[in-house]
Symmetry: C2
Subunit: 338 residues, 2 copies
């Protein structure tokens, strides 16, 4: 049953995270979290001919692997919730062709992993589904071509720019599990579309930080908790600039994130040696870090109560060229070890 507290949704049964999988590219493997990813490939084309096919292969393989990890048959899976950054979300729809499960296409930009987990949880909690997959992917080269310049152009990047992660994450959510799994989704808070007038597509951390702040402030108010009630508060890909801004914005509301806050975009690369400027981004960033680093840590009992807040910058190259500001959104998932 779902108990609604304002816009905060509490799950009385709590969907179970039974399995997860992650795939990344060479640069992510070489980063500080390299040892944690389940799978990586040195070939940036993932055996394909185009960057778009590479991203398609990335999500396809990661979803295939989470199904294998779960030991479920394809026909036992009711839904797949997925989306990505490519125009018309083609890496998800093409990567998941002819699967037996129903396909719910989502678009939340870099918030997609949290959006898919939140939506998937409601489907499970409502008995609309028993087993669902939540997945997303991004690829540096397809994103550069589409959002900025083709790689061959060699354009310079300002210090506030972020580096799109080549990576995918997939999570299996289940209503019941024979394996006595303990990682569960306790509550979710969907975000609103908000616009703070940032127009610089090379500073997406600044565009997204207010959305993350608002979702977190709403959450602490509605749940009557404070940051130290959680083992970790994890944002998706605010990067160094955005995560500094988030801490400042929260502090203004007397919410101190200094103890246990981290950002997947800051964690995934070594900012000093990997030339990524403000850090990692792309919906594969938080998806792969959640599925490789945080969920296994929960499984091992090293973390037992986390907030996962993935943020999305809702821009397109056309809106940026037209001088429009960048609305953003942040969805929150509270994951516990029961």
């Amino acid at each position: 049953m779902i108990i609604k507290n304002g816009k905060l949704l509490n799950f009385s049964n709590m969907p179970i995270i039974t399995d997860f999988s992650s795939t990344v590219g060479e640069k992510e493997k070489a980063g500080p979290l390299g040892e944690y990813f389940e799978h990586y490939e040195n070939d940036p084309y993932f055996g394909q001919k185009t960057w778009e096919e590479a991203e398609t292969e990335l999500i396809r393989k990661t979803v295939k692997r989470v199904i294998a990890n779960s030991k479920l048959k394809n026909e036992d899976i009711d839904f797949i919730f997925a989306g990505d950054l490519l125009n018309q979300c083609v890496s998800s729809s093409h990567g998941l062709i002819n699967q037996s499960e129903a396909y719910v296409g989502l678009y939340g930009a870099c918030s997609t992993m949290a959006l898919s987990l939140a939506t998937g949880s409601i489907f499970i909690e409502s008995s609309a589904a028993n087993n669902v997959i939540c997945a997303t992917a991004s690829h540096f080269s397809s994103a550069e071509r589409q959002f900025r310049q083709p790689l061959e152009y060699g354009g310079q990047r300002p210090p506030s720019a972020q580096w799109t992660v080549t990576g995918a994450g997939a999570v299996m959510l289940r209503k019941t599990s024979l394996k006595n799994e303990k990682i569960k989704i306790k509550q979710v808070l969907f975000g609103k579309t908000e616009d703070y007038g940032i127009c610089d597509a090379n500073n997406m951390g600044a565009a997204m930080a207010p959305a993350a702040a608002n979702t977190l402030i709403d959450f602490f108010k509605l749940s009557n908790t404070c940051p130290t009630d959680y083992d970790a508060i994890i944002t998706g890909d605010l990067g160094t600039i955005g995560s500094t801004l988030l801490k400042e914005l929260c502090l203004k509301e007397k919410i101190d994130l200094s103890k246990n806050y981290c950002d997947c975009g800051v964690m995934i690369f070594n900012n000093k040696t990997q030339d990524v400027h403000s850090g990692g981004s792309g919906c594969g960033c938080s998806a792969s870090v959640l599925s490789s680093y945080f969920l296994p840590k929960m499984k091992r009992g090293e973390l037992s109560n986390i907030l996962f807040v993935a943020t999305g910058a809702l821009l397109s190259p056309t809106t940026v060229q037209q001088g429009k500001s960048i609305p953003s959104i942040a969805h929150l998932i509270n994951i516990i070890k029961d």
Copy 2:
């Protein structure tokens, strides 16, 4: 409560469709359904400067109007489920900035109206929400520029091509209604991503017909009903070619759609005088026709049991240029007058 019968989801409480609104452009107003649309504008720019801003305005105004029709306050609305065809779904995210409701971005191409209604229904039925808006829009000129050629180019269109509808539809779904409304969503069937090898982006009806056929065949099997049990079976925008194919594909499975089948893409334009080749398309097509023609007919008691099956062609200009085939999907909604 949701009762799951295979992949068919039955709602025991049944979310109520209390209000709807539609907006179209001049060409749609001049078509056979012209008198039914709630609102239209002669200015193809909808008072804005770019086609993308026009589409943004189209969804913004339609959502505003469905809220006004419902007499609800903004803060009473829990969620808005929306998506569109523009890259990164920007007309929805930009059109719905700073609304108080949580935003769930969906991407289902032209199936978006059915996808939003199906997802919204589950949120209502599960008690995750009391009031939600499901909305989508498309615009001929923004779609031409993005998917085909800029209008100024004056490219010729083959006879199998369809004409993107300039239109938007929005539906208010509620858990309870004081107004004793009777239009309810009884069951939904989410579709799978399917690929039949069609590579011609100028023949999307052919790409989408098999997805519609499979969803309908699955539905009749799972619900143990036949086409004549319904007052109308409505597809989204298969157009003349796609809807002919759908009837043929269903007939092969001994499902005869000849009695009560229609397609919004065929209905919205006069095929003989309006130069639209195979008919209308775009996610605003089925959204505006459902919200202006079919739902009011149900309200007046002229229809009491319909199947709304919106289909989506999951292509992007990049995948088409790369010679990829076009996967497609169809989601089904059974709407009844209780």
